[in-house]
Every structure is written in structure tokens, then in C-alpha cells.
Subunit: 191 residues, 2 copies
DNA sequence: CTAATTTTTGACCCACAGTTCAAGAATCAC
DNA sequence: GTGATTCTTGAACTGTGGGTCAAAAATTAG
């Protein structure tokens, strides 16, 4: 009983995620969140407790949707190299095509809050570990399919790929599309 | 004539740089800067105009010292691969050895202010371009010395190295030393 | 209908961020 | 010394950030 919620919590978290992604954690004020979600400040605090807690939900959602999308995308038909190149290009292009280059929320989080927020750091670490597992699995798949050299160390390559991707999303802040695609080509040539 | 300055502007900029580096742009208050530099708030404003202008000077100093150190370090005796590996390891280790992992100021800047601050973005871009030139030059040196395959595209490899380094500094927020060194080994194996 | 329960909301609060300023202190020219 | 000039400093100001709250609005149980 009691008055029913007038909004879908998942939708509010999704909108909050977009806002944090675009403006950063510190750069997002409660007023911004109220405007972005269409829910009054007081109501947000009633439902989520604090800006920090809402952010935690937003980051969790980001991790879930990001890993799911990566898994789906890597599993489409093609060689490991083709799929990984397409995945990298997709992320870079999406960033460049948006109204503002906002990079990766997980990465932004750890760069902004790194050191000062243990929980956020661990949350990002979990996302990264998951991504690395997905890369390693795809490389091993490629080795079984015969399109990746059996001699390479899948786990080591997966770590390097995650590093390269993180670097690409930094480079996407300041470099243009042709340069970024050239980097992707060079990176996947090593597979 | 007039009352002489009671502080060395360069020293103040250097201390401000350290503070911005550790706490981020938004996370650094005028009070923080006054405490870190030992100069009263009002005096800082008198000398530097605004927080933003002081930050610009700090970022410029960061770029100058960083590129100079890179140039010096890459030119020491050894093969291109050895020197680049050592350079990467040095940066990662310095970050891990500090009291707080703070990454790269240029990168932090572009991730925090990206899109919202044109001038800062351009300043970081200039630093990155300079680093890429240094990498390319060292690779070409290696090709002349015979320790790097003549067939590789120095510019393309330099772009990838800068990307890898940016990624490493992100990874250094959440991974431990052995993993990071393993990534460095995998990365330079491609040279 | 009333009571109990849960949400909603804007008004309100305190602290601090970023900046300005007025008054004083140190120097040089004369 | 006096004046002109430049630097120093804490006090003061304005805006906003993050958060609380009391009162009103929906709902269900009985």
C-alpha cells in the first residue's frame, strides 16, 4: 500500500547514467539529475539515498549493458580479428558521432575518483576483468576456428586489447576518425 | 619598482600542478591551492587571474617537463624496444609507488574537461603529438641502428605506442604491478 | 469514510567554491 | 622623507552543491 511510485526506477537510473557519463560525477549536480530524470530532487533522495548511491546504480547498469553488448557483438560471424576490429571501431565511432565526446563511463570514473573512492574503483575493476575474459574467450574461439595463431597467449593478448581499447578512448578525446581507425588497424594487426 | 613578489612564480605553478594532478581540476579549491603553495588566495588571484589560468600554466609545465623527460630517457643507451619498455615501466612504477595513483595529468584533464574546455583539449593534444613524434623518432633511430625491422611504419607504431601508454595509465588505476608489466612486455613484443 | 502507509515536492539549510576588495606593507624614484 | 607603484592578505560576497524536511497527495486495509 501507500502512494505508488510515479516513475520507473530503471528509467531514472538510465537517465542518471547518461548524465553522469556526459558531465562527470562531480560535474553532475542534484539539480541536473532532477532535470534529466524529470523527478524532483527530494524524490530522488527519497528513492536513492544520495548522489553517490544513485551513481553506483548508474555505474552498475553501465557495466551490465556494456558487457552484454560486447559479448553479443564479438559473437557475430567473422574471424576474431574482424570482430575485435569492428568492436573497437564501433565504440570509437559512437563516441565521435555523439554531440559530445564522453569516452567510457567506467574509465572516466576511475580517472576522476581513482584513489578517493574504493568502491567505485572496485566496480570498474570488475567490469574490466569481465571485458578481458570476453576478449580472451573470443581469441581462444579464433584459435579453435583456425583464424588465430595457436602460439599466442590468449590471456596476455586480451589484457593488451583491453589496454589498447582504454587508450583508444583517451585518444578519441583529441584525435580525429582517420587517425583512430589507423590505430585500430595497427593494433589488430598483431593478432 | 613596487613591492617585490614574495614567491617564485615557477615554484607556485609547480606546486599547483602537483595539486591539480592529485585532486583533479574540479577537486582542487582555491583554498587547496593556497595551502599547497603557501601563498594566500587573494595573492594567487592577483598573480594568476583565475583558477583556470593557473591551471593552464600548470598543464603547460607538465607538458614541458614530461616531454623533456621522455626525450632524455628514450635517448639513453639501448635498443628502441628496451628504451620504450623501460620508459613505460618507469611511468607505471612511478604511479604505483606514489601515495595515490594519479595517472597522467594531461589525460586526466582531457577526461575530466573533455568537450567542455576547448583550450585544455588543444593543450593536451599538442602534448600527445609531441610524444608521438618522440616515439616515431626513436623507432626510426632503431631502424637505423638495426634493432628495429625496417619494414614497420614508424609513425603508425608511434601512434599505437601512445595509445598503449594512455591505456596503461588507465589500467594502472585498478591493476597491480605484475599484470601491468606483463602488458608492457606484450606490447613491446610487437616492435 | 478513516486510518495507515508511502511518495512527491518545493522550500529551506549549511557549507564551501570561486572571486573581489579595501587596507596595509614593501619597494624605487626623486 | 614623499609619492608612485606593486604585492599581500584576510574579510566579505554571491552562487551553488548536496541534502533535509514538513506538508500534501495517492494509495490500500478495514
Amino acid at each position: 500500500m501507500g502512494r505508488p511510485k510515479s516513475f520507473e526506477p530503471d528509467v531514472v537510473v538510465a537517465r542518471a547514467m547518461e548524465t553522469f557519463w556526459t558531465k562527470g560525477y562531480a560535474g553532475t549536480s542534484p539539480a541536473d539529475l532532477a532535470e534529466a530524470t524529470g523527478v524532483a530532487k527530494g524524490s530522488l533522495y527519497h528513492s536513492f539515498g544520495s548522489k553517490r548511491e544513485l551513481f553506483a546504480k548508474a555505474l552498475e547498469l553501465y557495466g551490465r549493458t556494456g558487457t552484454a553488448a560486447t559479448e553479443e557483438f564479438l559473437s557475430r560471424p567473422g574471424t576474431a580479428r574482424e570482430r575485435i576490429r569492428a568492436h573497437f571501431a564501433r565504440l570509437v565511432d559512437a563516441d565521435l558521432d555523439g554531440p559530445v565526446r564522453r569516452g567510457c563511463l567506467a574509465q572516466n570514473t576511475v580517472e576522476e575518483l581513482g584513489g578517493r573512492d574504493e568502491e567505485a574503483t572496485r566496480a570498474v575493476h570488475r567490469i574490466e576483468e569481465r571485458m578481458i575474459e570476453l576478449f580472451a574467450a573470443r581469441i581462444e574461439q579464433g584459435q579453435r576456428d583456425g583464424d588465430v595463431d595457436r602460439g599466442i597467449d590468449a590471456k596476455a593478448q586480451a589484457l593488451l586489447l583491453q589496454t589498447t581499447l582504454a587508450g583508444l578512448r583517451v585518444m578519441a578525446r583529441t584525435f580525429d576518425r582517420p587517425v583512430l581507425h589507423r590505430i585500430i588497424d595497427t593494433a589488430v594487426a598483431g593478432l
